[in-house]
Symmetry: C2
Subunit: 134 residues, 2 copies
DNA sequence: CTATTGTTCACCCATTTAGTGTACTTTAGG
DNA sequence: CCTAAAGTACACTAAATGGGTGAACAATAG
């Protein structure tokens, strides 16, 4: 029921980038140092943010990262799902194979959890990084 | 971000008990068989529901389990927290030691997640087993 | 060409998850 | 009071996940 460490780091990294002047390229080392994220681990996480279209990267001398969108266009849900994949409050909500009842059609638990999950996703989607810049 | 298998089983077990005539004692074998929960694993999960005051147990011949409260008095949150302990969307929300910034006082990520977590808990608390009996 | 920056893929160790084994305790009924 | 039928406690395990590290590579500014 908790996000993992990589996601926590990713949220902090995105917020850090969101606080930089628009278009500014920030190197991994700066993010790592300021946000206290192990450098090598950060470098491993960033590509998933890039694939999700949240961040752009620049290689070579003077390279680094920058947001690919306006901070207000990036939600917590975007970042969480970029790193962890689709949210599933219960594994069976995304893949019936995980249900020992094999997705018995009238599983009330399933339906109630699906409802909670929808609310959770909406809530995560409702938070973006523009709000947090200060 | 997902509940674990034990919690899923616990929710199904509680729902099963909620559907029995009030006061009826149901043996583990029946729950296990009907809800397709590995017997030994179910027996291991039940004590946490008992400690949380959700279920009562009866030992010896003719023993089994029964709800300790009315179905409407048992929320999803009760069951989830009975099995998994307090919900923490981020580990640092319950224990600052897990924050690599050591709970830097103005962590905006922390604050936003705390807000989402509060909504999630409220949502889980809003679902009880009376609604699901049919 | 070279130093600097990010990328990729493989690996590693500790913890958690999802269970099983074995021995024990309680209790109804004969 | 014996015994079979229930739940309890504690230890153990195989597999997956979490949180990282290592080493070689690729791109790019100067």
């Amino acid at each position: 029921m908790t996000i993992n460490q990589a996601t926590d780091y990713a949220l902090r990294a995105v917020l850090y980038l969101a606080r930089q002047p628009q278009g500014e390229v920030t190197e991994a080392q700066a993010i790592s140092g300021q946000e206290v994220i192990p450098m090598r681990f950060l470098l491993k996480i960033m590509p998933s943010l890039i694939k999700a279209g949240i961040v752009k990267s620049f290689r070579g001398v003077g390279g680094g990262y920058a947001l690919a969108k306006a901070p207000g266009e990036v939600s917590f849900l975007d970042v969480v799902e970029a790193v962890e994949g689709p949210i599933a409050l219960n594994r069976c909500l995304n893949d019936y194979a995980f249900c020992s009842k094999k997705g018995a059609p009238n599983c009330q638990i399933h339906q109630a959890l699906a409802d909670v999950q929808a609310k959770l996703k909406a809530e995560l989607q409702g938070h973006n990084f523009a709000e947090l810049i200060n």
